[in-house]
């Protein structure tokens, strides 16, 4: 048995039951973020999909893959978005290599 149950995604709204005010504030904010603004909901959906992967959140991957399909986003567009997330994630790892280089240079030059 996995810790993650896909059915739990449908229960997400229930977090409000144990803290109504904070839960409602969160969902108000969340729903506002995804409305049409300087970015289109389609662009926001692709950003959400990329972040879902970098956060490795199964619920979010489930939700935003489906959201993308509903918006007519193609699988090629989705995969490119995932690569953007992966590139930033690996870049974030590699850029720390400069710290390592600095330390080596300080200690052993």
């Amino acid at each position: 048995m996995s810790y993650y149950d896909p059915k739990d995604l449908r229960k997400f709204g229930r977090i409000t039951e144990w803290s109504e005010s904070l839960g409602e504030k969160f969902f108000d904010y969340y729903n506002s973020v995804f409305k049409d603004g300087a970015l289109t909901p389609r662009e926001k959906s692709l950003i959400a999909l990329a972040v879902a992967h970098t956060e490795m959140c199964p619920y979010c991957i489930d939700a935003y893959t489906k959201d993308g399909l509903e918006r007519g986003i193609t699988k090629e567009e989705m995969m490119e978005a995932v690569h953007v997330g992966a590139a930033i994630k690996s870049g974030a790892t590699l850029v720390h290599g400069v710290m390592m280089m600095n330390k080596v240079n300080k200690l052993d030059s």
Partner: protein
């Protein structure tokens, strides 16, 4: 996710789902039988304060037969080349009488491929002569290029000022062909160009060409306006194709789409998605309030979906030959759990979103 490979109708394959009783049992079981999800009737009672009843007759939707040159994976009619059911001229004459005597505004012709009925052109011409405001032909597009005898359909449509409504599940070949069959995308593009050439969908033209989008898998349609914008940009940029509007339709869980949902293990999640997207505003505007659906044999139904589930209208007069105006005044609408498909999200009707 695997996609069911469809080459024959459920009917021809003698699938258990070709039996409508089997489909209705599946719809009533599962999440509805164990009380996890509210039944559609309960939800309607809760949001409208009473059951769904007809209001008046605006649209007469006539199914000219189940014969079709395509075998689409999600067809709710279970149509295909192996289906031989065709409306007779006599039944068409009964429909024409209703157009004369009632206040019906729109004649909506569907199938199968309605153009394959040998009396199709006669029927359209006669309906036009009866002065019906609008004649819609739901064309699968590929029929126009399927055989030489159909090549002049765009000219015929234009001559009769028919409103053409065509299926186009996506602006990519891959998704369209997967749902509608190999080669369908390219043939659809050819047919759309032929329609554009006679003026359909062109700026300043009175000839209307709308596209129907329905999702290619087990998910609901997104925002109709945004999808329309995307389709317009992509089809224009890639092929120079123009069209007027796009109707985003939800796939209802019946017939071949139900078969697909079950085979791909998506049925329960899909039903939950429909139930949880119930929109009371859409429930107030469902198409069965002002539509009457006529089967190829002339029997009457609240909608095309009830027709395919063999749920005739709630009245003893169940044939078009018996039509009287009071049939559309306050008659109770027959429902089952598939009806959630018309009330999900922005709602879904044969004219697209309803909110």
């Amino acid at each position: 996710m695997s996609q069911t490979k469809v080459l024959q109708s459920l009917h021809k394959r003698q699938s258990p789902l070709a039996q409508t009783e089997r489909q209705l049992k599946i719809l009533e079981d599962g999440i509805f039988a164990n009380g996890d999800a509210p039944k559609f009737g309960h939800k309607i009672q809760q949001s409208l304060g009473g059951p769904l009843k007809t209001v008046n007759l605006d649209i007469l939707q006539v199914n000219l037969g189940y014969m079709c040159n395509q075998v689409c994976a999600h067809c709710h009619v279970d149509a295909g080349p192996d289906r031989k059911e065709i409306m007779t001229k006599e039944t068409m004459e009964h429909c024409l009488k209703v157009m004369e005597s009632s206040a019906v505004k729109t004649l909506d012709l569907t199938g199968g491929a309605p153009e394959m009925n040998p009396n199709f052109r006669w029927f359209v011409t006669q309906a036009k002569a009866r002065g019906v405001n609008e004649i819609i032909v739901r064309s699968n597009l590929t029929i126009i290029v399927a055989n030489k005898k159909y090549h002049d359909l765009p000219e015929f449509f234009a001559q009769q000022q028919v409103h053409v409504v065509s299926s186009m599940p996506h602006w990519t070949k891959e998704k369209t062909d997967r749902q509608r069959g190999s080669g369908v995308f390219e043939d659809s593009i050819k047919a759309l160009k032929m329609l554009n050439d006679v003026g359909y969908g062109m700026p300043g033209s009175s000839l209307t060409l709308d596209l129907v989008y329905n999702p290619s898998g087990a998910f609901l349609p997104g925002d109709q306006e945004a999808l329309c914008q995307d389709f317009k940009e992509r089809l224009d940029q890639s092929f120079g194709i123009k069209f007027n509007g796009l109707f985003a339709l939800t796939n209802l869980p019946i017939s071949r789409f139900l078969d697909y949902l079950i085979a791909s293990d998506n049925y329960e999640d899909y039903m939950w998605a429909l139930v949880e997207s119930f929109n009371p505003a859409a429930a107030q505007a469902v198409m069965c309030l002002n539509t009457l659906s006529v089967s190829w044999e002339g029997y009457l139904f609240d909608c095309d979906f009830n027709q395919m589930l063999q749920m005739p209208i709630n009245d003893s007069r169940q044939h078009i030959a018996q039509y009287q105006d009071d049939l559309m005044q306050g008659r109770l609408i027959k429902i089952s759990q598939h009806c959630y498909g018309c009330t999900a999200g922005a709602g879904s009707s044969c004219q697209g979103a309803v909110t």
